[in-house]
Amino acid sequence: MKCKLLFSVAFLLLTWLLWAPLNFAQGQITSPTTAEIFKQFSEQVVKIEVVENGSGAKASVGSGFFANERGQIVTNYHVVSKLIHSPDRYRIDVSAPSGQITQAAVLGFDVIYDLAVLRTDRSIKGFLSFETTPVAQGTRLYSLGHPQDLGLTIVEGTYNGLLQHSLYPKVHFTGSLNPGMSGGPTVTHAGKVVGINVATEGEQISFLVPAARAFSLLEKTAKIEKPSTANFLEEVGRQIQANQARYLDGMFSNTTPSVTLGPYSLPTKPADFFRCWADALRRKELPYVVISHDCSTDDYIFVSSEQSSGIVRFYHQLLSTEELNPARFFTLYASQVQAGNVALFGNEEEVTPFRCVTRNLQTQGGKLKGVLCARQYVKLPGLYDAVFRGATLGARNVGLVTTLSLSGVSFENIQALTRRYAEAIKWRR
């Protein structure tokens, strides 16, 4: 009897062992859950095309979803940014999975978090609501959208929490987002929106705007019936202006940590959202050494395809020599001080050319050659890009070139940060 029971158990175990891998494999290929999710929620996901009025051709493609009973659509700011910059030249066409196309208007946007809310006049079959309870790391998520304009697609992935060192909170989604899926929803198996597809950084590393930001933008735009397109650019400028205080206040104050490079003590990693790197150029055939220390925010604000903003970067380069005489060392040093910087973004319509002012400065620590270069945003009043470069004076075989670069900030902030940064360069006695 005992033996029979044991046999039965062994048989069952064997059967399970034989079947389990097959079952597992079947789950991989056709999970009924994913198919169901797609079937259940794809009606609420739309394709968004920004169309150039003159040619009738699409200028950009993205995704979006119905987010409330009024039929408002949530998408990314960057999907519709062309229209926000030139409302007269573009229109927005929204295509439902059924193929029906209707026009949409922009009700509001959040340029900092890359969100926009649109409105159409058509009746809707349903909408997606937002996840309000915390999601555990590892939770399976499903992202919907139109990758490369190939038709509505569902992508599986996992929730990996909020980014640790980000200036703007973002959900780390481990799944393959592709261009065109921007603005689409990423949902739980219950169809609750956890985040809005926004960016990807290579294989399986993707980012979502947290649902809470979209929710608050929807609340803000709830009462707007007919937005005034004329004020769009002013609003972009206003939002960028308002955002500065959040990350610039107190940067490079006395509490900023410092790093020691040669005889200098210099600011480093002023906040969690900065990443710092260091390297050195030491080669036998070169009669000098260059040590560099580079800190930068990872995040940037997408303003238009021609312009990004909100990036703070600063880097120190320590040059020293045991071998070169002062005149030759200063040839090297001067070339490093004068090395031209090229701004990555900006054309004539967006920004003015740079203008610079050069002076010899007395800081509390010592003497600096200081150069401040700035340019103004043409369409967004009150915003500037600026670079301050300082070079220490007085030494004969060692020199420090340090550069602070700000983008999309007010002139008052340029002045305040230049002042604090210059004073944060200290000489060790």
Partner: protein, 326 residues
């Protein structure tokens, strides 16, 4: 005083084509071969004019009823039957200009020959010294301008092409001088070009140091350009002295015109580039190995306050760049 002397036939520029001594009076001038002075000019009559003494013993030229007459000086003047002649008087018959000069005509002082070795610029020693100085400066610039390990051979060989260009330049001017003045002035041209290069080096160094110490002086670069212009003008002026027959005043004009034209071109191209849009920021900060105590400075606060001017400059640029509202 016996008014004996010479009758000279001149070309339109005043150069003497032919000279005929007057040893007795009267002298007959005309196309016919029985004249003392035969003029080969179809507008001159066979017997055109006589040079003789009048009743008071003064020298005159008398028209011998010629077809085209006798005129004072040159050009289309009124014809005269008779003309009093002093030493140096010019008159015209037909298309020919004649001049009378007495034997005791006052002469200009003798010119000093430049080839007598008294010229500073012509001294081969000075030329060699200037050339060596240029070579040394080029080597020094190459050495100080490199930040990698260098060898003596490398330092000396690098400026050779530039140095050879100096001699080519001097050679071309010498050639021009040979054609125009029929003289070789090679050492002079080497010396002049070398001193100009040394002066350019000096002005460049001074400008850099001034800009390092006083970056707040706005028009420093204008002074630099002006200095370079003066050197350039001096260079042209010097070369022309040994390569042309131009007078001092004309050489000055030529030198300053060339210099002004080059500076003008550089200003125009500078201006054209300035209005071009660019994403590049140019850090013009010059640094020099000088003890910090010697460097005049301003406080960071004042620097930041002064940057307000930068803001208004940008405001102006932004206004210009704004698309005009319909």
């Amino acid at each position: 005083m016996a008014p004996l002397g010479y009758i000279e036939v001149l070309d339109s520029k005043g150069n003497v084509l032919e000279r005929r001594p007057i040893d007795s009076f009267p002298i007959h001038i005309g196309r016919a071969y029985n004249n003392e002075v035969v003029i080969d000019d179809p507008y001159v009559c066979p017997a055109h004019v006589a040079i003789e003494l009048d009743d008071r013993g003064s020298l005159i030229a008398r028209d011998l009823n010629s077809v085209n007459g006798l005129r004072l000086g040159s050009g289309r003047k009124k014809r005269l039957p008779m003309l009093a002649l002093n030493s140096g008087s010019q008159f015209q018959i037909g298309h020919t200009i004649l001049r009378y000069r007495s034997f005791d005509h006052a002469l200009a002082p003798t010119l000093l020959d430049r080839e007598n070795g008294t010229s500073f610029f012509g001294s081969p020693h000075i030329a060699a010294f200037a050339g060596i100085m240029v070579f040394a400066l080029l080597c020094l610039e190459g050495f100080l301008g490199s930040v990698e390990r260098v060898t003596i051979a490398g330092i000396v060989s690098e400026p050779l092409v530039t140095f050879a260009t100096l001699f080519l330049w001097a050679g071309l001017w010498t050639l021009a001088g040979r054609v125009i003045l029929s003289r070789f002035y090679f050492f002079e041209h080497v010396t002049i070009a070398s001193f100009a290069i040394v002066a350019f080096f000096a002005i460049n160094a001074v400008a850099e140091w001034l800009e390092f110490l006083f970056p707040f002086i706005p028009a420093l670069w204008v002074a630099g350009v002006f200095g370079a212009g003066v050197i350039l003008a001096t260079l042209v002026f010097g070369h022309l002295r040994f390569a042309s027959m131009m007078r001092r005043r004309s050489r000055l004009w030529a030198a300053f015109s060339v210099s002004a034209a080059l500076i003008g071109i550089s200003f125009i191209s500078d201006y054209a580039n300035r209005s071009k849009f660019s994403n590049v920021m140019e850090f013009t900060g010059i640094v020099k190995p000088l003890d910090a105590a010697w460097v005049p400075t301003m406080s960071v606060d004042r620097f930041v306050e002064n940057s307000q001017k930068l803001k208004s400059d940008l405001e102006r640029l932004a206004q210009k760049a704004k698309p005009t509202q319909p």
